[in-house]
């Protein structure tokens, strides 16, 4: 039942070696009054019965709904090789590579992953992954407090509101101040962001493309932040980085984001992975595991966990973060996804997202009463202004099997009519045309 292989005879032999009369005797150190008062669970079952239950739950999972939603999590293609290779049991049933000689597979893969993240973000040093996008932004904010020894972070409110909530919670625990700067329409308010940076500011945090889908240049913000001794943290969407200038090119000090879109399925919220990368001079302030290259006792190249003096198992409460287990297997999927597409394919994928979204943008803007709210460029998401409250419209379209977008009213007071629409490469022209028709119908009635 519990996948315990030892037979009654073997159990007797083992007990004899131990010198105990029964298994129960081994639990004697536990005082009787501390024993479980209840353990009320149903009996076990066979694989077949289990899968029937699990399939029923999965069938009621909304997978048939056509998603024009993102919210930080995106429906992208996943090459078949990603599943096959990451399902190698040698990868997924291993643990943290504490013993490097018998973990070179994981270690080299993570080194390659770190290299891919550096190349995507235009940075010089990446760790071996964090939990998800939201906690990655939070870790970056904490990192900026350590580097600058300041206690105030400026958050652009056009960052994913779920991420902002996580960052605020993390900063609150440390009594650090989080200042939010409202967007200007669907764009970051660069002037107000710059004005908000003072001598106590550790970092200013922006997202590109932002939650409304707008793509901006943050080079000037980087310069202004640096003038005040503050850092620039840019949260990015890795598929967009096939086309959009990288955080490194814009002068950012820390790049973060959610790596889900790189080969990890939607899976109702996880597991995904967060990435974080920085300039080499800040490497000792990175949280979590880092893999480094070295040589063995015969001069052969190999990989080890490095700079571990930053970490909780050595530094305990003085560590750069409490993180121990990260999202290694999801990072491996991200690596294999990027290597499958390659230099050319990755750019093509980004362009395809852009083309599809531009087509959808003009189709949907053609619906009576609908207009595009983003003042400048967008990548594969954009925000529409509807002639009425977007929430009931979205609810209505869900009944037709389409998730039309994320209505913004609940996240941005006063933006009740705004709807953020996501169009990945997986959305066909027919699906986009149907969305336009359904939207028109919903708005006319």
């Amino acid at each position: 039942m519990g996948y315990c292989p030892n037979t009654p005879d073997e159990i007797r032999e083992m007990l004899a070696v131990i010198g105990a009369g029964s298994i129960e005797e081994l639990f004697a150190p536990i005082p009787a009054e501390l024993r479980a008062k209840s353990f009320d669970l149903p009996p076990g079952m066979s694989e077949f019965e289990l899968m029937r239950i699990m399939r029923e739950k999965a069938a009621a999972g909304g997978a048939e709904i056509v998603p024009f939603i993102g919210g930080g999590i995106y429906d992208h293609i996943i090459p078949a090789a990603v599943d096959h290779l990451s399902s190698r049991a040698e990868f997924y049933t291993a643990y943290t590579p504490y013993q490097p000689e018998c973990s070179q597979g994981t270690l080299q893969a993570l080194f390659e992953y770190q290299s891919v993240i550096c190349r995507l973000t235009g940075m010089e040093a990446s760790n071996a992954s964090l939990y998800d996008g939201g906690t990655a932004v939070a870790e970056a904010a904490l990192m900026s407090l350590r580097i600058t020894e300041r206690n105030r972070v400026v958050l652009d409110a056009s960052i994913n509101p779920l991420h902002r909530e996580i960052v605020t919670g993390y900063l609150h625990g440390l009594s650090a101040e989080a200042v939010e700067v409202a967007p200007d329409g669907c764009c970051s308010n660069l002037k107000r962001l710059i004005d908000s940076i003072d001598e106590e500011t550790a970092a200013v945090v922006v997202q590109n493309p932002n939650f409304f889908g707008s793509v901006q240049d943050f080079s000037e913000l980087a310069v202004k932040a640096h003038e005040k001794g503050a850092l620039l943290i840019v949260s990015g969407y890795p598929i967009a980085l096939g086309l959009v200038a990288s955080p490194g090119e814009m002068g950012a000090d820390i790049a973060v984001g959610d790596g889900q879109s790189l080969g990890n399925p939607l899976s109702f919220g996880g597991p995904y992975f967060g990435f974080i990368a920085t300039r080499k001079r800040f490497i000792r302030n990175l949280p979590g595991r880092i893999v480094g290259e070295t040589i063995d006792n015969q001069g052969r190249r190999g990989y080890v966990l490095t700079l571990q003096a930053r970490e909780q198992h050595i530094k305990r409460h003085k560590a750069t973060s409490n993180i121990c287990s990260n999202q290694s297997l999801c990072a491996l999927r991200g690596l294999i996804f990027c290597a499958s597409l390659g230099k050319k394919g990755f750019e093509e994928l980004a362009l395809l997202n852009y083309d599809k979204a531009q087509y959808a943008k003009s189709s949907l803007a053609g619906v009576k009463g609908v207009s595009v709210m983003n003042a400048g460029s967008t990548f594969n998401e954009f925000t529409l202004s509807l002639p009425k409250d977007a929430a009931p419209v979205v609810e209505k379209l869900l009944a037709s099997g389409v998730a039309a977008g994320v209505p913004l009213g609940q996240y941005y007071p006063g933006m009740d009519n705004a709807l953020t629409v996501t169009v990945t490469e997986k959305r066909s022209k027919a699906e986009i045309d149907r969305l336009a028709a359904l939207l028109e119908e919903a708005l006319c009635s």
Binding site: G2, Y3, C4, N6, E10, P29, I30, L41, L50, M51, A60, G61, I69, G70, I77, A81, F91, T93, Y95, P97, P100, C102, Q104, F111, E112, S115, I117, G122, S126, Y131, I166, G169, L174, Q216, V244, S246, L266, S267, F268, G270, P271, Y272, V291, E293, I295, V304, T306, L307, H313, H317, A319, S325, Q327, S328, L341, K344, L351, S377, A403, K429
Partner: protein, 479 residues
């Protein structure tokens, strides 16, 4: 082995991107565009498959080797639960956050709620949140909940969290991230936190005490109920680090003992794979008085039996984007359902039996600092071997040559040259006997030819690696 980047050939490609069925858009503005394409490797699909298949073969793993890594519970991961976890790949987590979206995702929502109920019953807690994404994340969440509880009562003096010196490093690190100062209590000669020193450290400035029980030596603390009572008397709450829950499934429920908050490592106790270092999952359970402070949102069962995602306004906010590492949670839910009540009790019984068997057979050759019945793991010291100049790490490396993943070494920190062995319940006597034979052989070689151990491993693709050089060079990505 070459890096994937070193196998790259300009112009080669693997997977094809879908063809476009929409008109080409006007070009993306140059001012916002990246200057050159991302320099990803250019390889064929076969190059890629060989590369990562061969890399995988350079790993030890549970499916290929006995992996008695103490404190990590490297049990066998059943294959059917893998299948179960993959069923939800197409479910978008934002759907239930859309107006009218909840009714479309009743299956996954029922699973979140069902797992929370299972874990509450197993741990003796009143409610559980699945949001935390790993054990350490659960610890931080739990301590943030405790901080919110004290704050809501207007009790702002509490600035300390107490941890024993044998605790996992994540305990003090997590409490520090939640804004607390740390007080560390040493281990007494009887193998657990020194009770007198603990009593002296306890005051009305202590917010929480974090305990691992059984502790990281694999010992069940007989004073645990007293520790809970002392903490409560001073108004502090007591936190249970669930890393070692595998030892006590069905035997002890931390909630019954007096603990207020617990995190559970689904990747340890509940059979989800460790993934080469994650993804884990660290649900947190609390007693009734702490429910208001759990993270938002909560999945609630409504009067009509349906499930809803509800805001939890008094809570500590959001600690992760959605409902936690859902596909991991699905595996754990499947595991608990598959094993059922009797299966889970068998897990703890066999985990404890196996650990005591290894302990009994090795204690003649290896120093056992605390010689008493252990729970699911046993902690030896290589102090006898050290007399011949052999360290715990040398024995570990020799085990690699003989096909065993080494136990945890140099942890817990309160045992010199620690070797911590956790066989788990899924190993057979035959496998353990082979491991024991090699451990005994290592002890013999330590006496007769210590240099041989210091040279190990010799069968792996690389020998001992220069960690100092790695730290100095800081080469963490391919140039």
């Amino acid at each position: 082995m070459q890096l994937i980047f070193e196998k790259s050939v300009p112009g080669r490609s693997g997977v094809r991107v879908p063809l476009s069925d929409v008109p080409k858009a006007s070009p993306f503005p140059d001012a916002l565009r990246r200057k050159e394409p991302v320099l990803l490797p250019e390889v064929s699909e076969l190059d890629l498959v060989r590369h990562y298949t061969n890399l995988s073969r350079r790993n030890f793993s549970v499916d290929t080797n006995f992996y008695p890594l103490g404190s990590c519970t490297m049990k066998y991961n059943t294959k059917v639960t893998e299948n179960a976890g993959g069923l939800f790949a197409g479910c978008h987590p934002f759907l239930p956050l859309l107006p009218g979206g909840e009714r479309l995702v009743q299956g996954p929502l029922s699973l979140v709620h069902g797992l929370e109920q299972q874990l509450a019953e197993i741990t003796g807690m009143d409610e559980v949140t699945t949001q935390p994404l790993a054990g350490a994340h659960g610890e931080m969440t739990g301590i943030m909940v405790i901080a919110a509880y004290h704050k809501a009562r207007g009790d702002e003096r509490r600035k300390y969290v107490i941890v024993p010196d044998s605790s996992h490093g994540t305990n003090p690190a997590s409490a520090a991230m939640a804004g607390y100062e740390i007080v560390t209590i040493p281990t007494a000669p009887y193998g657990d936190m020194d009770l007198e020193q603990f009593k002296n450290a306890m005051s009305e400035e202590v917010a929480a005490v974090m305990m691992t029980c059984p502790n990281t030596l694999g010992l069940f603390n007989p004073h645990i109920a007293e520790i809970c009572a002392i903490a409560h008397q001073a108004g502090a709450l007591i936190y249970y680090d669930g890393a070692n829950l595998n030892a006590i499934l069905g035997k002890v429920r931390p909630g019954d003992v007096g603990f207020d908050v617990i995190h559970v490592n689904l990747h340890k106790t509940f059979g989800t794979p460790h993934g080469g270092g994650g993804p884990g999952s660290g649900p947190v359970g609390v007693k009734k008085g702490l429910i208001p402070y759990l993270p938002t949102p909560r999945v609630q069962r409504k009067g009509d039996g349906s499930f809803a995602v509800e805001a939890h306004p008094e809570g500590i906010g959001r600690v992760s984007d959605f409902f936690g590492n859902f596909a991991i949670m699905a595996r754990a839910y499947a595991y608990i359902t598959l094993l059922g009540r009797e299966g889970l009790i068998e897990v703890s019984e066999h985990a404890v039996l196996n650990a005591n068997y290894i302990m009994a057979r090795l204690k003649g050759e290896y120093e056992l600092p605390f010689d008493q019945t252990c729970m699911h793991e046993c902690a030896f010291s290589a102090s006898r071997q050290l007399q011949d100049g052999v360290h715990a790490i040398d024995i570990a490396k020799y085990l690699i040559d003989r096909g065993f993943h080494p136990p945890t070494v140099y942890f817990p920190l309160n045992v010199k040259e620690a070797i911590m062995i956790e066989p788990t319940e899924t190993e057979s006597k035959q496998t353990m006997d082979l491991f024991i034979d090699v451990m005994l052989e290592a002890a013999r070689i330590a006496r007769e030819d210590p240099e041989a151990l210091r040279q190990a491993p010799v069968t792996t693709p690389v020998g001992r690696l220069d960690e100092t050089r790695a730290a100095r060079a800081q080469q963490v990505c391919c140039e």
